[in-house]
Every structure is written in C-alpha cells, then in structure tokens.
C-alpha cells in the first residue's frame, strides 16, 4: 500500500500568492472573475486558469483516469495533461496555458471528455 495526501478543496484558505518580489515585476493584467465548479474565483486576465486556481487554494483540479484520484497542477507548461479541465463546455483544455477571461465557466473534467 502507499499513502498519498489529498488537500481537499474545502480545506483551502492559505493565500499562496507572492504579492511583491524583490526583482520580478508581475504584470497580472486586469481583474476578472470566473467560476470553478460553481464557486466564484477572482483572478486577472494575464494569469492562466490553473495558476489562478492554485493561488486560490484549489489543489485538486482534475482526477486520474482509472482510480479517480485527485490531480493538481504539475508541469505547468502544457505537457503533462494533469490540469485538463472543461472550459466553457470544451473538454481537455490545458488550463496551465489558457488565460483567465471574465465570466468563463471552468469545471472539473470527469472522464476523457466527449469529442462532440
């Protein structure tokens, strides 16, 4: 047997956002808000969806195919499939690459996503 840790979305609360950095200048863009599984999330339009969710404390953003275990942000460069979600009805969106837009509807993807 193996042990693994699940940070339940309900236990979130720590703000992971680095607000100011000694040498980096963050260009976060304009404030927007969207919903994640019905919950309102505040973000900016220069952030990717996955980053906005991570910063807001949502660690489980998808689930593994066979055992349905929670998956979170992993490679953050569009390679690994760990952050694929349904965005405005479209499945398999790599949310680590997709920027936040005001009013978008982001949902956890169950299964592999339907083609049509």
């Amino acid at each position: 047997m193996y042990t693994y840790y699940i940070i339940k979305n309900s236990e979130r609360g720590i703000n992971l956002r680095i607000e100011a950095h000694p040498i980096l200048d963050f260009k976060r863009g304009n404030p927007v808000s969207f919903t994640f599984d019905g919950v309102r999330v505040e973000a900016c339009d220069n952030m990717t969806i996955a980053v906005a969710l991570h910063a807001a404390g949502f660690k489980g953003i998808s689930e593994s195919m066979l055992k349905k275990r929670p998956r979170g942000l992993f490679c953050a460069i569009g390679n690994c499939s760990s952050c694929m979600m349904v965005v405005d009805g479209v499945p398999n969106v790599r949310t680590c690459l997709e920027l936040c837009k005001d009013g978008m509807v982001v949902e956890t993807q169950r299964g592999k996503g339907a083609l049509i």
Partner: protein, 382 residues
C-alpha cells in the same frame, strides 16, 4: 552457450509466437523461439491492430475467417491472464466511386458465400453506426460487425504465455546471425549468444525475412516498406468500427483507451528497413482522416511511429518450405495484414512442418506460385 532444439523459430512477433504455440499444440516437442529485441518489437507492436474478414479473394476470406474464429475463443483457449481486448465493433469500408462499388458488391457476394456476414450499407445506414462520418462524397459503405480490433501486445503475450505453458522456451535479445547446413539439410543457427543445434528452422523474422533467408542462401521475392501511424489524445468512445478506404487511402480506429489511431500507404516511403518516423506524415494523414470525420479536427496529436510492411508481389503471404536446405521454413510477405491472419499462419506452418493434413489450403501459398503464375492477387488492401 550451446543448446539443442528440435525446432527453432526465429522472430518474436505475432507470427513467431503463433507458430510456436500451434507447433506444440499439434504435438511438436522442444521448440525454441528466438527474438532479437523484445516480443512484438517488429511490425506486430507497431501495427493498426485491425481484424477483418472483408477480403476480395476466396483464400484471404477463408484464412481471415479461420483466424477470427480463433480470436473469438483465444482468451479461453490460451488461458490468458490479461485481456486480449478483442472488440468486435466492425469494419466499415468506404465506397467513393463506381469502380469501388462494383468491387465491393463482388467482395460482399464472395464473403457471404463463405459464411462471412458482411453487407453493403447506404450512407444513411452507415451514419447510424458512425454518426461522425462525413458521407458527402460516398456512395455507401461495406460493413461487417464481426470484424474489429485486437490488442497486438496482449495477443502476442497470450500466445507466448501459452507456448511456455506447453513447454516452449523463449530467448529474447538473441540475434540470429547465421544458419548452418550440411548435405542440403539445416543443422543449426548461430546467434550472438552461441550456437543452437536444430534440424528445423522457421524464419518468422518477416520484415527481416529476406536477411534470414539470404544467410540460408535463398532469395525470396519480398521487400519491406516503411508504414507510419499517428495517434491522438484519448476521448470518450464515439467511433465503434475501424474505418477504412482503399481509394481515399486511409484507415482509422478509436482504441479501447479512447485515442484515435490512423494510417495510410505512401509509395514514396523507404524500403531499407528504416523504422524512424516520417515528418511529413502527420499532415498527410490528418487531412485524409478529417475529410472523412470532420469532428476529429480539434483532437491533439500525441505521437507517431513507423513499422515495416513486408510485401510480396501479389500482396498475399508466403508459407514455404525450402527444398535446399531442407528443414528451413519461411512465413512472410504479409503485405500489411499478417496480424489478423496469425492463427492461420501458426496452424498452417505447424501442419507443413509436422507433415499433417492441411486445414487451410496453404499449399497454394508456396513461393513457387511466382514461377507458376498462380498468383493470389488481392484487390482490397491499404
């Protein structure tokens, strides 16, 4: 290492493991199988996994039906622990011109007469089965529900496990480098791991069959051509049958995992045993397949690979016993459909080697047909 075997099979693809299994099943003893890489390293592990009975010659219909009947019971007969994933979701052959329609009518009549339950479908009926099919430029399709696809890795392992259970031995990473003969009879083979004495050697190296035949001093009318496959990300099941078109030059299936696997023929591909991927392929195959199933256009591509079609002059397999040296047998030239006929290959080669009466008319598949002119020209291949 020095070893002795009654029969040595060269090649751990589907043909090799099937021949090994059917040899033991039909009473042979002390059979040794040699593979240069890992099992299914060659065409078998790189193929489109399609299983069909919809052929245009009586012989191909008969051997593919025999093989499909075997696959239906293979899970039990071979007592395989895994799942061979034989999904009989059908094969749909697209008809896009009058000539193809005439050919398909003939094929279906022939198939029906041999007990193969294929039929012609209107475009409307075809869309009932494959809603994402674009039938705009089609005249209809041929369809057989019993056809489908089968997992090549599991099928190879299933034969290999059963072969070992019956007492067979498999040596992987063993490269055959020479065949020895004396007084017109095979005496053994040399490998990178030493000499193996054997009076019977079966060449099932297929893509590399000419090389092996060459070192035994034989010249077979075969060439190996690179064929490419591309695979997409997985989505929920939406495509049941294997879609295939001869005139549009494509085949495409959705695997049990949900990915779409697609391929086509390209005469400009190298014939020098290269198995590296061809960079121009993704664009070509994506265009062909998206024309037929536009819904696939937004799917992301995962990867591509290539393997060898071992092609004979009439696109049909060669099952042959050499007259010199005696004891040297070859099964090759499957021309892109040797996976689906592997049970026929196994049973036929076993009968030929053990001197048993033929279940299938394998005498007609001897290499001598290219001299006598009794070719087995198959009209329906991709």
């Amino acid at each position: 290492m020095n070893k002795t075997a009654d029969i040595c099979v060269i090649g751990g693809g589907i043909s090799g493991v099937a021949i090994g299994y059917f040899l033991l099943k039909n009473g042979a003893k002390n059979v040794l199988l040699l593979e240069r890489g890992h099992l299914a390293y060659g065409a078998t592990g790189r193929c489109g996994a399609g299983i069909r009975q919809q052929w245009g010659t009586e012989l191909n219909c008969v051997i593919s039906k025999y093989s499909l009947d075997f696959f239906e019971t293979a899970q039990d007969e071979l007592q395989y622990n895994g799942d061979i994933e034989f999904h009989q979701t059908g094969y749909m052959l697209l008809i896009s011109n009058e000539r193809e329609l005439e050919q398909m009518k003939k094929n279906v009549a022939l198939q029906n007469s041999l007990g193969i339950d294929s039929q012609l479908l209107t475009c409307e009926d075809a869309r009932q089965i494959v809603p994402i099919l674009n039938t705009d430029n089609l005249l209809g399709t041929a369809f057989c529900q019993k056809d489908g696809h089968l997992n090549p890795f599991h099928m190879t392992q299933a034969f290999a496990d059963a072969f070992k259970r019956l007492g067979g031995e498999i040596m992987t990473y063993t490269d055959v480098t020479g065949i020895t003969a004396a007084n017109g009879r095979v005496t053994g083979i040399t490998t990178n791991k030493g000499f193996i004495a054997a009076e019977t050697v079966v060449n099932a190296a297929v893509g590399w069959a000419q090389e092996i035949a060459g070192i035994a001093g034989l010249d077979l009318p075969l060439f190996s051509e690179r064929h490419n496959i591309m695979v997409t990300e997985p989505v929920e099941p939406i495509l049941g049958p294997m879609i295939m078109s001869f005139s549009l030059n494509l085949y495409c299936q959705q695997t049990p995992h949900g990915s779409f696997l697609m391929g086509r023929t390209d005469d400009a591909q190298p014939r020098d045993l290269r198995m590296t991927s061809y960079s121009g392929f993704p664009e070509l195959i994506a265009q062909s397949v998206v024309n037929v199933m536009p819904a696939l256009k937004n799917l992301r591509v995962l990867r591509q690979w290539a393997g060898l079609y071992n092609v004979s002059p009439d696109n049909a397999a060669i099952y042959s016993a050499a007259s010199d040296p005696k004891g040297f047998y070859t099964a090759a030239g499957f021309s892109g459909h040797g996976f689906m006929t592997s049970p026929a290959t196994g049973q036929s080669m076993a009968e030929m080697i053990l001197g048993l009466p033929p279940t299938l008319p394998w005498q007609r598949m001897d290499v001598s047909r290219f001299d006598s002119g009794e070719l087995l020209l198959e009209p329906s291949v991709v």
